[in-house]
Structures are given as C-alpha cells and as structure tokens.
C-alpha cells in the first residue's frame, strides 16, 4: 500500500510541473507599438526610438506587422532628420574657462563671478551643441538600422515593395519624403548580394 501511495504522489507532482513552467514563461516582455513610436514626435527622445527598434528585433510575431512598425520608426527618424539639419560646429568634451583656467574644471571653482558666468554660458552652449549632435547622429543610425532591416525583410520575401510603400504612405509626411524613403529601402535591398531583383518573382513568404 505504501508503494502505491508513493506512485500516486509522484504522478501528481509530474502533472503539476508543466503548469509551473508555463506560468513562469508568462512574464510580460516589453513590446513595441505605433503609439510608443510616435511618442518620439513630441519628446524627440532618441533613446525611445532606439528601444522600440530593439524591442522589435527581439519580438516574435508576424513579420508583416513588425515591418510596418519598422517603417513607422523609419518615418519618424527620417522626419526628425529632415526637420533638424545636422548642426554646424564640433562639440567639445571639455572646454576651458575664458579667463585661461584649466579645461574641464567645475565652474564652481572659478572664483571670478563674471568669468564663472561666461564659462557656464560656454558650457551650456557646448552641452546643447553636443546633445544636438549626438541626437542627430543617433537618429541617423536608427534610420540606417531600420532601412537595413527592411531591406533584409524584403530580401527574405517577408514583405514586398508595395507593402513597404503602403506602410510608409500611411504616415503624414510629404509625398517627396515618402518617395525618397521608398527609394532608400529599394536601393538597400538591391545592394544586398543575395536577393531577388526587383520585378522578379518574390520568394514564398515563410511564417516566422
């Protein structure tokens, strides 16, 4: 009788294990969405756009839906770059107080208040320049990544040219910009060594 009880207990434990595993696998992963991507329009926080692109790279699901979101990132990034020219001038990691002090020193250590104020002004201007530079470069890289990714989707037959164009066209950007972005993806697709040439039969779309 004792042995029989043990068997029943063991069986019950074996049944319970998958339930635990399944619940452990239900952890919510960060997801990308059109709303989060378009938040960038207001905040111009490039890290938001970078995170959305990274989330997309890690998500499973419909390649077509993902491609549409990548197009949204591409449009937002490109719109930013069109609206914000790359600033002139070169930012500095450190600058020096105008009175001849040590470069990179804390403004608080500058004794002369006039010189300190002038130094602080230079620091603030440089910081603004550096941030503008950085953001412009970061968004440009995001745009390049999105174009590269869309080109790979195209090469793999996960999305076709018309779908890319349609995804771009649903955004509120100028007609010229829509055409330019479509051409950008098309050119990147054509540049890849292994791909069906445009106009050739598209490979069958596998499910991801």
């Amino acid at each position: 009788m004792k042995t029989r009880h043990l068997q029943i207990l063991s069986f019950a434990l074996a049944l319970s294990t998958p339930v635990n595993i399944a619940s452990a696998g239900d952890e919510k992963k960060p997801e990308s969405s059109l709303e989060k991507i378009t938040e960038f329009r207001q905040s111009e926080d490039d890290t938001l756009l970078a995170q959305q692109l990274q989330f997309l790279k890690k998500q499973t699901g419909s390649p077509s839906d993902k491609a549409k979101l990548i197009c949204a990132i591409l449009v937002e990034a490109d719109k930013f770059l069109v609206n914000h020219e790359r600033p002139k001038g070169t930012p500095a990691l450190n600058i020096a107080p105008p009175g001849g002090g040590r470069s990179g020193v804390d403004p608080a250590s500058v004794a002369d208040p006039i010189e300190r104020a002038a130094y602080q002004k230079l620091i603030d201007e440089n910081k603004k320049l550096a941030e503008t530079h950085r953001k412009h470069a970061a968004v440009a890289k995001i745009r390049d990544s999105a174009v590269n990714l869309l080109a790979v989707y195209r090469v793999n037959g996960l999305i076709d040219e018309a779908e890319v164009d349609a995804a771009i066209r649903q955004h509120e950007i100028s007609e010229d910009q829509k055409i330019a972005l479509g051409q950008l993806v098309k050119a990147a697709t054509a540049n890849k060594a292994q791909h069906p040439t445009d106009g050739a039969a598209e490979p069958e779309k596998p499910k991801e």
Binding site: A92, L93, S103, N126, H133, R134, N156, K192, Q194, H195
Partner: protein, 792 residues
C-alpha cells in the same frame, strides 16, 4: 527386503575418480562395518552406487558394479571390511526401463553396465569429466573420459594429441580424429581445413563438386566451399574435367557470353571467335545480342538490326555502342569492360588497353593505383576526374590536377584555376548497390545550378555491387541537382529481376567549418536505401544539394575586415545564407547572447545586433534539420587613445606656465567598431602636488554624452567631438609639481545604462623652470616658459 554383502577394506579399493559435486539425484550414506547399507527402493527407480576410497574419504570414489531397480521395499547390502567406516553414494534415475543394465541413460553411447563395470564412468552423465567431450568419443579415441585434462592435458578439451593445431573440442565438433593431423587424408591438415579454408576435415571434397579440397585450394584457385566458384551454374569439377573451361571465370573465352549459355546453345565456351558470328543472320553478332538480352535481343532470333540503338551510350562511359563495339570491341553495356576500375573511354583516350584488367596484368604505370605523373592522383582517380595521368596539370593552367580537385576548381578547364571565393568543403557521397545481389553499378552526378561555374561533377562505382564513398570538394554557397544514374548490371549476375536496381545513396558534409554544411532537399525521396528491384526508383528523379554557407558582413565599414567575427557592443552584422534558393531557413540565437538580438528569424538573411555588454552570441540557421552557425565575440571598449586634432597646434601663453592641445579620442580595441556607442566623462576629484598642491580637491564635473563615429582604418572608432585639454595660465614663481584628474570614461548603447570602461588621466606637470607639460590619454605636449609660439 533384499540383502547383499558389501565390503569396506582399508586401502583395498583404488579410486578412479575424485568425488563429483553433490548431485540432485544422489545422496551420501555413512555405514559402519558389520552394518547394512540400506535404502528404500522406490518402485521403478534405478539405483547406482559409488564407494568412497577409505584412504581419501568423500574425495575419491569408485563405481560399484551394482544396478538396482526399486520395488517399493528396502534394498539392503551388508557392509564388511577392515576400515572403521565407509561412505556410499547412492545415485538414482527415474527413467522408465526394462533393461537397466543394457540401457544408456545418459545417451553417451555406452550402456549403464559398461559405464559402471568397464569404464568407471557416470552412467547418468554423457560427459563424466565435464570437459565437453562425450564419454564414448573419448573412449573411442583413446582419451580418458574421467580426466578433463587435469591429470594429462591431452585428455582435456584443449588437448591436441595429434599436434595439428586443432584442439580436442574442435576435433569433436568437426568430426575429426584427435589422433590424426589430416583426418580425411586430402592433404590439408585439420586445423587449416577448419580455420583457414572452412572445409570439412572429414571430407576430401567439401562442396561435392568433383574437385578435392586440396586441388581447389592449390591447383585451380577455386572455392572449396562453393561447388560453382564462378557462378555460371557449371560445377567446378565439370568445368575442369569435362568442359575444359575456367572454373573461376563465368566467361572463359571473354566473348561476353556465359560458359553455360554457350554450352546450352552449342557454342564453344573456349573459343572467343564464335562471339562475332551471327547465328540468326540478322547482322548483329552473337555477343552483341547477348549483352542486350534484357532489351529483347537474342543471338538465335533475328532482330531488326535497323532499330538497334547504336548511337546510345547505355553504360555512360562516354562512348556510343557503335564506337565501343565496332571500333574498340569493348562491351557497350559495361562502363569498365575489363573491370579494373578505369572507364573504357578514359582508358582508350589515355592509350591504355580497355580490355586488359590492369589490376591483374598490363604495364605497371597503368595500374589503377599507379601515379605516373606524380601529381598525387592515381590512375583510378584520374579516370574518375577525366584528367591526363601523364600530365600533372592537365589543363595547363599552372595548378596541378590534385590541387585543383582539392580546392574545387576544374582540372580540365584552363580558365578555372583558382579556388572558389568562399573555399570548398569536402562532401562525401556514398552510393552503390548494397544488396545481397551485389549486381548493380551507378553513377552519381552533380549538376551545378548556382555558385559553381564548373561543369557536371560525377563519380562512378568502380565495382558492381560495391557501394563506395567518394569525396567531392564543392564550393561553399553552391547548389547542385543530384542524380543517380544506373549504368550497368554485373555480367556475372544471374538473378531476377535483372537488373534489380537496388541502391543506396547518401550525402554528408565533412570539414570543420561550422558555417557551412551540405543540405539535401529530397522531395522525391531518392536518397537512402531502395530495394524496389523491379524498377529503378531514382529514374528521372532528382534531389537538390545545397552547400549552405552563412556569411557575415558588418554594417560598419571600418575596420576594413567586415567579415570579422569579433564585433563591438551594439554593432550590427548582416548575415546571409547562400545559395539564395535554400529551403526555409530558421534562425536562432544561441551561445551566450546577452542582450544581442537576431532578426528576422526566417529567410536567407538576418541581422545580428550585438548586445550592450560583452557576450558571445552564436547565430544559427537550421535548414532541413542541418544547422550552420557563426560564433561571434562581442567586446566592450577597453581604452581611450587621445590624438591631437589634425590642423591644430599647441596652446601656450609666453611667460605663463602653460600648455594645451585639442585632442580627439579613439576607442580601443581597434579591431572592432564602436560606432554604436556613446561616451562621456564621469566626475572625479583632482590631486595636486608641489606647485599644484593647492588644486587638490578640484572637481571634474560629469560630462555630456558624445556620439562615436567611424575614424580611420587603423583606429576605426573616434569620438564625435574634440577635447580641449589645457592647463591654466600659471604664474611664477614656479616649482615642480603635478596635477591629476583620473577621469572615469563611460559608454552606453542605445540610451541604455552607463558603464565605466577606462580611466583617462588628465595630467599637468610643472617644472621649476616653468616648463609645462599637458598630457591626457597617451598624448602630451610641453612648452618652455618663454616660448612665444601658440597655435591652438
């Protein structure tokens, strides 16, 4: 009750055997002199008695000449003698018997009575001494049935009294005489018959073919175990003694017609000339029609000669039937007429004799294993490649044949001397007839569809019914159409159906490149073993062979090696599988990927985004169950090298202790790209000595994030900003001293968390002369106090 007298005499009995182990059907009874050995005799039970040697109680026993049958009453023997006690062992058997003395209970060929009275052997055991040799066999051959070899090794299982090498146990099993080295007197000793020639040592003609074993082995070279060595249905003895044909050749005269068939059709199996005769006057000679029997031709039935397929090449040796038969008289149904492993067409082209088996005859330099041009390929291999065995560089392109074969270029094409751009992998193709008939010969053919500018590659079975593994060196990224072609049936094969079309075909990649593998797409199922027999399963069918290759190219154009497997944090790497027509790859990220990402996960391309921190991701693509992969190493920046910004000079104020420069930071290591990171300086507190002692505690504040852009080939990653690195304008009086900020440098990827990766020291040095040195990140400038120049 029956009473008999038994005597126990001290040392009066000579024991003939040691005591056997206690047996189930026996019991030991102790009896004193002048007493009775008494037991209850069960009805129909037969009893035997052993007496223990009084001088070696319970170890040595002798059989008493007693066989009693029970009758449900006591049986009693009176015991007498000089010893103080006696032991008796009572054996019994319940075998039904009407003649207990004359029966043979243990079936060893000796009666019970003879066993106990004459041979002193156990009437209830066929092998009294347990040596594996029956009692009667031992007695028949003069061996002691009570000695397992302990007393005299010659009596045991491993004994060899005749010294022929065959032990007694084998002599018994093979019906040989242990006292005769050649039992059957056929000239072959027993050991050789059993273990060398596998013939019977007690039969002079094991296979009953009319030739004795010795003659088969030493005179005719025939198989003494096979009555028809050449499988032409004629017994070996008949061939030698009656027909004067060769018992080892199915076709003695070499006219392609079997000996028995010639005899049955009143042709002469020893005269090749009758092969060229035309028995049915249809203009097709006898031997030509014979090899096309399976296609409806018959030497004795007139066929339509006009429809004969002269222009075909049914054996795929490159020569039409007409050329083979009319010009060279080679067999148009055999790729390799003489069976030496080299094709007819190749032998003829090279001046070899296609009708002489060069394994057995012919010049030494025409042997299939010879390499007359010394290029590392044997004649047999050159035949398979179609190259010239007398020219190490057949196509004269400056690269020898073996090198071309190994590197994957075509040794017969002068315009193809270089290895494929991505190299090759060895691909083993196993093909041929593995069935018991050993009858068929095949050619495996690879027709390039992508990525191989060369022509069709093929290999041919060297022997009928002998599967072989041949290695192709195929360009990575290529695609081939695989065909298996049936090129002939052994002329020796007499089974049905003929051909039987049995085959096996498999393809496996070798090499040690995990990024490349052979992948077979076989929707028609031609791979594997096929024994359909009545039809050639692979006829008209093909499979696709992909030499799948995963390649990588970094998005960053610097460093210039964009195929590198070591990348910086956050780097993007494009991954591509070739050939592009690969079926449904599925991608996965393995290894220790950290925060790396791989996307998309289907299709021939994907993009690896390296993690934010050092890690070792492995990108895998699985196609039809075969995985190719690339292992990456993701590294973080580990140092900063500051260089003076081009076009700038050294800052200085004459009369002031001062120096400075504009620096541009570059990020090590320099064999990866860090274009996807951003950097900044963290806060720190300065330390001064001597002249700068008062500056101790001066704070360096937290800097702003700066991007990183591509630098140059030597230092691919540089900060997207310059660093103003200068001292203050220091006044006299001067004394030696230093000031240092050990500035922590941080990086981040995609706006993620910051991590310090290096400490870059801002260091100012003052000398007593006022000479000042400014150093940071490995670069330093100095200015004398009164130097008038300054170019910032």
């Amino acid at each position: 009750m029956r009473s008999r007298l038994l005597a126990i005499f001290a040392a009066a009995i000579t024991a003939l055997s040691l005591a056997p182990a206690q047996e189930q059907n026996s019991e030991i009874i102790q009896v004193s002199p002048d007493m009775f050995l008494r037991w209850y005799g069960h009805d129909d039970r037969t009893y035997f008695v052993q007496v223990s040697d009084p001088n070696d109680h319970l170890r040595k026993w002798t059989w008493a000449t007693i066989i009693e049958t029970g009758n449900d009453e006591d049986i009693s023997y009176e015991v007498d003698g000089t010893a103080d006690k006696g032991f008796f062992r009572l054996w019994f058997s319940d075998q039904p018997t009407t003649d207990p003395d004359g029966d043979d209970f243990d079936y060893d060929g000796l009666t019970n009575w003879d066993e106990v009275s004459t041979h002193q052997t156990n009437p209830l055991k066929w092998d009294s001494d347990d040596d594996g040799l029956p009692d009667d066999w031992e007695i028949l051959h003069g061996l002691d049935p009570n000695d397992d070899g302990t007393t005299d090794p010659a009596n045991g299982a491993n004994g060899d009294p005749d010294g022929d090498g065959l032990i007694n146990l084998d002599e018994y099993w093979y019906y040989a005489d242990p006292n005769l080295a050649d039992t059957d007197g056929d000239g072959l000793n027993d050991f050789d018959e059993v273990w060398v020639y596998y013939t019977y040592p007690d039969s002079t003609d094991t296979d009953w073919d009319g030739l004795d074993d010795f003659a088969e082995v030493f005179t005719y070279g025939t198989d003494p175990w096979n009555w028809d060595t050449d499988e032409d249905t004629l017994p070996d003895g008949d061939e030698v003694l009656i027909h004067s044909t060769d018992p080892t050749e199915m076709d003695t005269d070499g006219d392609w017609m079997w000996d028995d068939w010639e005899l049955a059709n009143n042709l002469d199996p020893t005269d090749a000339a009758d092969g060229l005769l035309d028995a049915d006057s249809d203009t097709l000679s006898n031997q030509l029609e014979f090899v096309f029997l399976d296609q409806g031709y018959d030497p004795f039935v007139a066929n339509n000669a006009a429809a004969f397929p002269w222009a075909n090449d049914p054996d795929w040796d490159g020569l039409t039937t007409q050329v083979e038969f009319v010009t060279h008289l080679t067999n148009p149904r055999q790729h390799d007429t003489d069976g030496d492993g080299m094709s007819d067409a190749w032998e003829i082209a090279q001046g070899f004799n296609a009708k002489v088996n060069n394994l057995k005859a012919g010049p030494a330099n025409q042997h299939p294993d010879a390499d007359p041009d010394g290029d590392g390929l044997t004649n047999g291999e050159e035949s398979g490649l179609g190259t010239n065995p007398n020219d190490p560089d057949t196509d004269g392109d400056g690269v020898d044949d073996k090198t071309e074969n190994d590197q994957g270029s075509n040794p017969n094409d002068p315009n193809d001397s270089q290895p494929p751009p991505n190299g090759t992998i060895p691909v083993d193709v196993d093909f041929g007839d593995t069935s018991g008939s050993h009858s068929e010969k095949y050619r495996v053919q690879l027709t390039p569809l992508e990525g191989d500018p060369g022509g069709v590659r093929f290999r041919t079975n060297r022997q009928y019914g002998q599967p072989q593994t041949d290695t192709f060196h195929l360009p990575k990224g290529a695609k081939y159409q695989v065909e298996l072609i049936h090129i002939g049936t052994s002329p020796r094969y007499r089974g049905t159906p003929k051909p039987d079309y049995d085959y096996t075909l498999s393809i496996n990649s070798g090499g040690n490149d995990p990024a490349c593998a052979a992948i077979v797409d076989d929707p028609q199922g031609i791979m594997g073993g096929h024994n359909e027999s009545n039809s050639f399963f692979a006829q008209g069918k093909t499979a696709d062979l992909y030499i799948a290759l995963m390649t990588s190219e970094t998005v960053a154009t610097l460093p210039t090696d964009r195929k590198r497997k070591k990348v910086g944090v956050g780097e993007e790497v494009n991954l591509t599988l070739t050939p592009s027509s690969l079926p449904s790859p599925t991608w996965a990220l393995a290894g220790t990927p950290g925060t790396s990402a791989l996307n998309p996960l289907t299709g021939i391309s994907s993009v690896l985004t390296a993690g934010e921190r050092a890690c070792t991701p492995s990108t895998e693509a699985t196609i039809n169950g075969v995985t190719v992969k690339i292992d990456f190493e993701v590294v973080e920046p580990d140092g900063v090298v500051m260089e003076q910004e081009p076009g700038t000079g050294i800052w200085h104020i004459q009369g002031k202790g001062s120096a400075g420069f504009k620096g541009r930071p570059y990020f090590a290591p320099f064999d990866v790209s860090f274009k996807y990171i951003e950097i900044r300086e963290d806060t720190c507190v300065g330390t001064g000595t001597g002249y700068f002692l008062g500056d101790t505690g001066q704070v360096h504040p937290l800097g702003q994030w700066i991007g990183v852009v591509e630098g140059d080939a030597a230092k691919p990653s540089k900060g997207d900003g310059v660093d103003t690195i200068k001292t203050g304008a220091n006044n006299p009086p001067f004394s030696a001293g230093t000031f240092e900020w050990p500035i922590p440098w941080q990086f981040r990827v995609g706006g993620g968390a910051a991590k310090t990766f290096a400490t870059v020291t801002h260091q100012e040095t003052m000398e007593a002369t006022g000479r000042t040195t400014m150093a940071k990140g490995g670069h330093s400038v100095s200015k004398e106090l009164n130097d008038p120049s300054s170019n910032f």
